[in-house]
């Protein structure tokens, strides 16, 4: 069978398993966009591996007809790191949630990013624990009423993008489950980036935290509540494209373009290669004071972890020749006992 010439379609990436997410869950949309994007990336299903932890999102691997591991809570980045070191030829995706990656798996998450393993990590952020039925998560907002916080959340939430910047991530992006065109484009760019690509997806849990991101999802509000990041372009947003983001000293501010006092050139031009300090400012833009940026925050190319690790192995072979067990065993001081 010659598969090389076959043009892959979304259906080629659909598994035969029944999908068990709640009806109306944002995960469906992310799965659909992933299946749409995978054929466009041009990597065949057998070269693709999805690795997940535990949580609603982590059931994802069962629903794509690639290789996959549904691992344990929080540890998908570690499993994926081992796989990618062992098999740099594979295209590896980590599917995780806000609890999985930022609470129990926080350690692995930051170390994955700093190492820059060439894989894509998609964080389904719904600001709630869904699979355990509605406890607050590390991205739940202060005051949020959940089953485990009947009087409201008192923790301060983690900002996934800010964490990623602190962890030296080379590719950081955000999208929204219902904004399918945007989501598909971000997933595709994540796949193209060499190194760890981190994508936060605002995902609606319609059962336990419905509407948490409605401002960014609803067609009526999203143009004013989000700003699309485009490399080299001024940060303009609003239904009528009449508002912009300006850097004033070391502070960002929303400015009105309609009255003509501020020109486009005065706005902040988005630069994916900018200093992380500036990217950090973008990550702090929160609704409703600011439109929340979606798109690629940061995209810089550093050597990947597996290239560095494999590079040392290659270098060692070059310098010392391929390992010879007998030579190793006989190295150093030996003596012979005669018969």
């Amino acid at each position: 069978m010659n598969t090389a010439l076959k043009v892959l379609k979304a259906d080629d990436f659909a598994s035969d398993q029944d999908i068990r997410w709640c009806p109306g869950c944002g995960d469906y949309s992310i799965l659909a966009q992933m299946k749409k994007v995978l054929p466009e990336i041009g990597i065949p299903p057998e070269q693709t591996v999805f690795i997940s932890g535990i949580g609603c999102s982590s059931r994802f691997p069962y629903y794509v007809n690639t290789y996959g591991v549904h691992s344990i809570h929080g540890r998908a980045p570690a499993v994926a790191t081992g796989l990618k070191l062992a098999r740099p030829d594979l295209s590896v995706w980590v599917i995780t949630g806000d609890g999985d990656s930022l609470s129990i798996g926080g350690n692995h998450f930051i170390h994955l990013l700093r190492r820059n393993v060439d894989l894509n990590i998609i964080l389904f952020n719904n600001r709630i624990y869904g699979l355990t039925k509605g406890q607050y998560s590390p991205t739940s907002v202060e005051g949020q009423i959940t089953k485990s916080t009947p009087m409201g959340v008192v923790d301060h939430p983690l900002n996934p993008i800010s964490v990623a910047i602190g962890a030296e991530a080379t590719f950081i992006a955000r999208s929204v489950d219902s904004n399918i065109k945007h989501l598909a484009s971000v997933l595709k760019r994540a796949a193209e980036h060499p190194g760890t690509s981190f994508v936060e997806v605002y995902q609606n849990c319609n059962v336990f935290n419905d509407g948490a991101f409605s401002y960014a999802q609803d067609k009526a509000t999203r143009d004013d509540a989000t700003v699309e990041l485009e490399h080299g372009k001024p940060m303009i947003f609003g239904k009528d494209k009449d508002k912009g983001i300006r850097l004033n000293g070391f502070t960002l501010e929303v400015v009105n373009l309609a009255d003509g006092n501020v020109k486009e050139d005065d706005l902040l031009f988005h630069d994916e290669k900018a200093d992380p300090a500036l990217v950090y400012l973008l990550s702090r833009m929160r609704h409703p004071q600011f439109p929340e940026p979606i798109g690629v925050f940061r995209n810089v190319v550093h050597e990947t972890f597996e290239d560095a690790v494999r590079g040392q192995i290659d270098q060692a072979v070059q310098q010392r020749g391929p390992g010879d067990l007998q030579k190793l065993f006989n190295s150093g001081d030996t003596w012979t006992v005669k018969a």
Binding site: H70, T81, G82, L90, H111, L328, F329, D333
Partner: protein, 621 residues
């Protein structure tokens, strides 16, 4: 004990069958280095050797204190030895704290060499002593040799212009030179070591150390207090080429051999922990063998990354000690559910919790047997000596690949840091073992079935990159065959049984248990792990004393060898010595319903031969 005498320069040489020496000093005094050199040199002279390094967990514990004492014991002999020796023929003590904490093990009439310069009042105070132990009347029991090591070393190395501190550091080589003269040890290997270690810009230090070593030797030749020296003939070991090997080193090399035998690249992930870290250091040096070493962010990441590598078709290995194994438990359960080959190696140390990081213990057996949620049995193997680490990890990887299962290997601090002569294997005789990755779909009626099993109940190791075999695995219970998620009660029971039977099937891949001694008798000593040497020596001594006693030393703890039940039935009593509260005994009692007797010690120290011997005699009266 004297067999013959000859003379070197002036003084006579007495040949003895074996010598046990312990070198003790501050943890920064270089006692471990000294001990390793003496061991290596003795091995090169053809002696059989066994060692026991014993050091504090602190890198540089407070100087001169009892807590900071670091020691290295070595027995070298003209016959086979399996332990570092119970009592000392000679003790070299570099300060009062080292002396008082170790003197009890020196035999009456034994040689006691001390650095006289470090018995000043301040040294005594650090050791919490009011008077010098050297003035104590009990010293008459020993042949005390007081040597001004600090002063003599300083004088010997003045020409090299070292700082006071650097010059002082050479005194361990002075002590070494004296010990080398005393036991007729050839200095060549140590001189090679010195010049290799202090090369380049450190040549002055190398020259000074050499001078100190030679000065120590000359001192022995000269002083009247040492009227003679000793020597030990080569041991009659099995013919072959030998080298000295330490447990962690042998373990690392065994992993290299296992990778080669299975045609796999070794992926080794770990998080630093005493006493397992040396395996990481060792393997990190062998990248030219295609070894990928990964120092993970924590113990869990280490085991999980090894699982990822195994899923990708490589040889996934992680090592740790007890506390780290506790952290890996959940992931070990995952690997068991994924049915992937994986090695999890536990170099045991004193527990619980942080416990005694640098001391030895055998108290993780039940942890690795049962320390996971659910019905989660795994094969468990245990190395019995430093050299055996080489073999046991190969056995383990063979089982892991043939059964598609994670396998636990137990070592311990005593084995890990201990050394013995190792007969170098002929690499061409290391047989390959077959590891296959399917290329064809095993299901003519639909998608590939990742949990379709062979006669050993192993599932196929299909790896990513193989067209047509895409499948998903996970920690959720799965339907046998298809691997699809299944909450069906009958299926769960079936899968639990299959996973247990897989472990049981390991016995089919392993040799039956052998017994050292009579096939039946009054007492069977049943032991496992690092106590092998002491148990063997004690049993042999009891056999020489006419006792009908045998030793069965287990290397395979789960499953037990298929003939073990028959063996147990042939002896009137079963004695199980362990460095724990009776963990193997619990397993043996529950499995075979035999009234096994325990002999248990939990002091962070290995068994002495004599305490085991006495227990054997007590039980065979």
């Amino acid at each position: 004990m004297s067999t013959q005498a000859s003379s070197t320069i002036d003084k006579p040489v007495e040949f003895v069958s074996g010598i046990t020496v312990r070198l003790v000093g501050d943890s920064g005094d270089g006692m471990q280095l000294l001990g390793q050199q003496l061991t290596n040199t003795s091995a090169l002279l053809g002696n059989d050797v066994a060692t026991f390094p014993d050091f504090p967990a602190e890198i540089r514990a407070p100087r001169g204190t009892r807590a900071g004492v670091s020691g290295f014991q070595v027995q070298f002999a003209s016959h086979e030895v399996h332990t570092p020796g119970d009592t000392l023929d000679a003790l070299v003590a570099m300060n009062p704290a080292a002396l008082v904490t170790n003197l009890a093990d020196l035999v009456k009439g034994g040689l006691l060499i001390v650095n006289d310069d470090s018995f000043e009042e301040k040294d005594l105070k650090l050791a919490k002593l009011n008077t010098s132990p050297l003035e104590d009347p009990s010293m008459e029991k020993y042949r005390l040799i007081k040597v001004s090591m600090t002063r003599l070393t300083k004088e010997a190395v003045t020409e090299f212009g070292l700082s006071t501190k650097e010059a002082d550091r050479c005194k361990n080589f002075f002590a070494m030179g004296l010990v080398y003269w005393l036991y007729g040890r050839n200095m060549d290997a140590t001189l090679r070591f010195i010049h290799g270690k202090f090369s380049g810009g450190k040549s002055a230090i190398a020259a000074a150390n050499e001078k100190a070593l030679r000065a120590g030797w000359a001192y022995g030749e000269t002083i009247e207090a040492l009227g003679q020296s000793y020597n030990v003939e080569p041991a009659k070991l099995t013919p072959g080429t030998y080298r000295n090997i330490m447990g962690n080193q042998a373990l690392a090399w065994g992993l290299l051999a296992a990778a080669q035998r299975s045609g796999k690249e070794l992926f080794y992930a770990s998080y630093p922990i005493t006493p397992a870290s040396d395996i990481l250091h060792e393997l990190a040096r062998y990248k030219n063998f295609g070894v990928c070493t990964f120092q993970a962010e924590d113990e869990i990441a280490a085991v999980c990354s090894a699982i990822g590598a195994s899923y990708g078709g490589q040889m996934g290995v992680t090592t740790s000690s007890g506390p780290g194994i506790a952290l890996k438990a959940e992931a070990m359960g995952l690997a068991l559910m994924l049915e992937l080959p994986l090695l999890v190696i536990d170099v045991q140390r004193g527990g619980p919790s942080t416990g005694l990081p640098t001391k030895t213990e055998q108290a993780d057996l039940l942890q690795v047997m049962f320390g996971r949620n659910g019905e989660a049995p795994l094969p468990v193997l245990a190395a019995r000596s430093p050299g055996d680490c080489f073999d046991i990890v190969q056995d383990a990887w063979m089982i892991a690949t043939q059964l598609m299962i994670p396998v636990v290997v137990l070592s311990d601090g005593y084995i890990a840091n201990g050394a013995e002569p190792w007969r170098i294997p002929d690499v061409t005789k290391l047989t390959e073992f077959k590891v296959e990755h399917p290329q064809e779909n095993n299901n003519p009626d639909g998608p590939f079935k990742p949990y379709l099993r062979n006669e050993l109940l192993a599932r196929p190791w299909a790896i990513p990159g193989t067209p047509g075999l895409m499948h998903r695995v996970g920690g959720i219970e799965k339907e046998d065959g298809s691997g699809n998620i299944s909450y069906d009660p009958e299926n769960h029971q079936k899968m639990v049984h299959i996973r247990a039977q897989k472990v049981a099937n390991a016995a089919k891949l392993l040799p039956p248990q052998d017994v050292h001694g009579p096939d039946s008798g009054d007492l069977l000593v049943l032991s496992w792990g690092g106590t092998y040497g002491a148990c063997l020596t004690a049993v042999e001594r009891a056999q020489s004393a006419g006792k009908r006693v045998a030793l069965a030393h287990l290397r395979y703890l789960n499953p037990f060898p298929s003939n073990l039940g028959d063996i147990l039935a042939r002896y009137k009593k079963i004695l199980i010595p362990e460095l724990n509260m009776g963990q193997l005994r619990m397993l043996i009692r529950s499995r075979y319903l035999v009234d096994a007797i325990g002999y248990n010690k939990i002091k962070g120290k290995p068994f002495t031969v004599s305490e085991l011997y006495e227990k054997i005699i007590e039980q065979t009266k």
